[in-house]
């Protein structure tokens, strides 16, 4: 493995690079903030700019830590597992307002339970509608708040 490849497997190298990049991105975004000519104190772009400088410094220091020989290696990421949790969650949250809460929640709970290893058919059949129904009742009729519905 090349030296560069070895460094890119260190937690602090990746974290340092990401934080430095975020800092540089924030410098660019800060420069784009409009200045109110009537302001009598520091302009609206100064504080984000200072934070960006702080992030760049912290990022570079983290990067330096990562270049040491004894720096910890990257944590293991089980991408399939993360996708199995995150994708249904993202889809459920993204279409939260468009679909009737009781339907979307039943489907989401069932899907996540299956992906997380639920094997008993009684659980598949009973729990998703029970969760959707009880949370709907508590929020809408108990707390008097709104949840998305089609009627």
């Amino acid at each position: 493995m090349s030296a560069l490849g070895r460094y890119l497997r260190k937690t602090d190298v990746i974290a340092g690079l990401a934080v430095t990049a975020a800092g540089i991105g924030l410098v660019i975004l800060s420069a784009a903030i409009e200045i109110n000519p009537l302001e009598t104190t520091l302009s609206a772009r100064v504080f984000p700019f200072l934070l960006a400088l702080g992030l760049i410094i912290c990022g570079l220091l983290t990067l330096r830590q990562g270049l040491r020989a004894d720096a910890p290696a990257l944590p293991a990421f089980n991408l399939w597992r993360i996708a199995a949790i995150a994708l249904p969650l993202l889809a459920y949250y993204y279409w939260f307002e468009q679909i009737d809460f009781r339907l979307s929640t039943t489907v989401y709970v069932l899907l996540t339970m299956l992906l997380l290893g639920a094997r008993r058919w009684q659980e598949w059949l009973l729990l998703p509608p029970a969760v959707a129904g009880s949370i709907y009742l508590i929020f809408v009729h108990g707390f008097g708040t709104l949840l998305p519905t089609w009627n």
């Binding site: 984000p48 992030l55 944590p75 199995a84 969650l89 307002e97 949370i135 108990g142």
Partner: protein, 490 residues
């Protein structure tokens, strides 16, 4: 009197339900109940509202300890300290300590309200932008230095939180910042959804990603009430210090339980690490990463001590100390009572009634909280395959209920995934969240102080409270840096 007791009981129960529901806070509970008080007399109205206030502030600690989901922003520090305890089989202990600490905090702050209201309010009035800036900076450095892990990553997390706090319309100039032209971000990154994202969503992704073999929660130890007493004897100064922090911060307008709980939590961890250094073999010396008994005590004492503290400026100056007291002023006006400098002098009987209600409400929190603490840890036995989707649905419903905004629901998914990545790379969540809370306070007061002093930065050092806080913050950072250098070289 029985009717008033009934209203307090109803208020405490309602407050505990609202407070324990992620997304709904004591503020929401008091706001929902305020219109109901139109037809009530003063005692009943205050009984209901103060019951919700005390019950709500405590109950946020229940989901914080059991599922790492703070019921309210003020319970985020409790999640950091209490959730690892629950995972280690000490949920019963953590809940018991949370209940008792909350009540002690509530009672001590009520005592302060009784004894020192007018005098303390005049101290709060002396706080200018310079002191608020210094207080914010102090809170941030304490948590960044002590939250666990590397100091560098703690500071980075605090900076990232402050960047999130910059999003939206700049409160000083009215300029739009970092909104990416999204109208939903004009009001900034909303605090409660952000908290739910960084604690609950991050946690549920972590739980879901873990192999089922890792998902074994330790058998829960049952702790007798008498076994909790030694913790309070051992940490008596911490309790008093946290109550003072909570009451003091509660008195400052625009602050609230979140800042109080974090500062007290930071202080508890600092004392704990100092004690661990002197007594390395002491089994009670614990670390932030594995949960902390003093952390739970400090965070919950300070969180509930805000209740009495926030009433001080409300009753003596007519200025709310936190969001709930802002709503309570409306409730007092409904009753035809205008709080202000003459309230205690002219309405002594009403003031005494308020104090009594506060004391009784806290006593009821103690009774209900202790009664429920044995049953509540059953939540921990729910398998991951059921808990993960249920918590995800609760989070979405709670967040949607706040503003009826589907954008907030998508936002918690995005922030939650970011939080998960940050956590995997060793960035602590506490400074990130506190950066979001304190960032706007620090920035606004920094700029206001400079504007008032004609851009002279000496203003931060020429005022004793401000200078003291800034110097303490620098010392905390230096101490933490030295400790890390010693640890890495040793």
């Amino acid at each position: 009197m029985p009717a008033v007791l009934l209203w307090i009981t109803g208020g405490v129960v309602l407050g505990m339900i609202v407070g324990a529901t992620p997304g709904l806070t004591a503020t929401a509970g008091v706001a929902i109940a305020t219109p109901l008080t139109f037809s009530m007399d003063f005692q009943s109205a205050m009984a209901l509202l103060l019951g919700i206030y005390c019950g709500g502030y405590f109950a946020g600690s229940i989901p914080a300890i059991l599922i790492n989901t703070p019921g309210a922003p003020g319970n985020a520090a409790t999640a950091m300290a209490g959730y690892p305890l629950a995972r280690r089989g000490q949920a019963n202990l953590a809940l018991g300590l949370a209940v008792i600490s909350s009540v002690i905090g509530g009672w001590l702050s009520a005592l302060c309200l009784l004894l020192a209201a007018p005098g303390l309010a005049s101290i709060a009035l002396k706080f200018t932008s310079a002191e608020y800036f210094a207080l914010g900076l102090f809170g941030l450095t304490c948590v960044a230095a002590i939250a666990g892990g590397s100091l560098l990553k703690g500071i980075t997390a605090a900076l990232l939180g402050m960047v999130l706090g910059c999003v939206g319309i700049d409160p000083v100039s009215g300029t739009e910042r970092l909104t990416f032209a999204l109208p939903d971000l004009l009001g900034g990154v909303p605090l409660v959804p952000a908290l739910i994202a960084f604690f609950a969503i991050t946690e549920l992704i972590s739980k879901g990603v873990q192999n089922s073999a890792d998902d074994i929660v330790a058998t829960q130890d049952q702790v007798r009430l008498s076994a909790l007493l030694p913790y309070y004897i051992r940490h008596k100064w911490l309790v008093l210090k946290s109550a003072a922090i909570g009451t003091g911060i509660g008195m400052l307008p625009g602050t609230g339980p979140t800042i109080a709980a974090w500062i007290a939590y930071g202080e508890a961890l600092r004392s704990e690490k100092k004690a661990a250094k002197h007594e390395p073999d002491n089994p009670q010396s614990e670390h932030a990463e594995s949960g902390s008994v003093p952390g739970v005590i400090a965070a919950e004492t300070a969180n509930n001590a805000v209740t009495g503290g926030a009433l001080i400026p409300m009753l003596t100056l007519g200025i709310p100390g936190d969001t709930v007291t802002a709503v309570l002023i409306g409730a007092l006006l409904i009753q035809g009572i205008e709080p202000g400098p003459f309230f205690i002098r002219t309405e002594t009987a009403l003031f005494t009634q308020l104090l009594l209600v506060l004391l009784i409400a806290n006593a009821l929190v103690l009774i209900f909280g202790l009664a429920a603490r044995r049953a509540l840890p059953l939540i921990l036995t729910i398998p991951t395959r059921i808990l993960v989707p249920v918590v995800a649905v609760l989070c979405a419903s709670g967040v949607f209920a706040i503003n009826n905004s589907s954008f907030d629901v998508v936002l918690i998914a995005a922030l939650g995934l970011t939080g998960y990545l940050l956590l995997r790379f060793g960035y602590p969540m506490a400074p990130l969240v506190l950066g979001l809370v304190l960032g706007p306070i620090v920035e606004t007061n920094f700029r206001n102080a400079l504007a008032v002093s004609e851009m002279n930065p000496v203003v931060f050092f020429s005022r004793p409270i401000s200078a003291g806080l800034i110097i303490t913050a620098i010392l905390v950072l230096l101490w933490s840096w030295r400790r890390q250098v010693q640890a890495s070289s040793g």
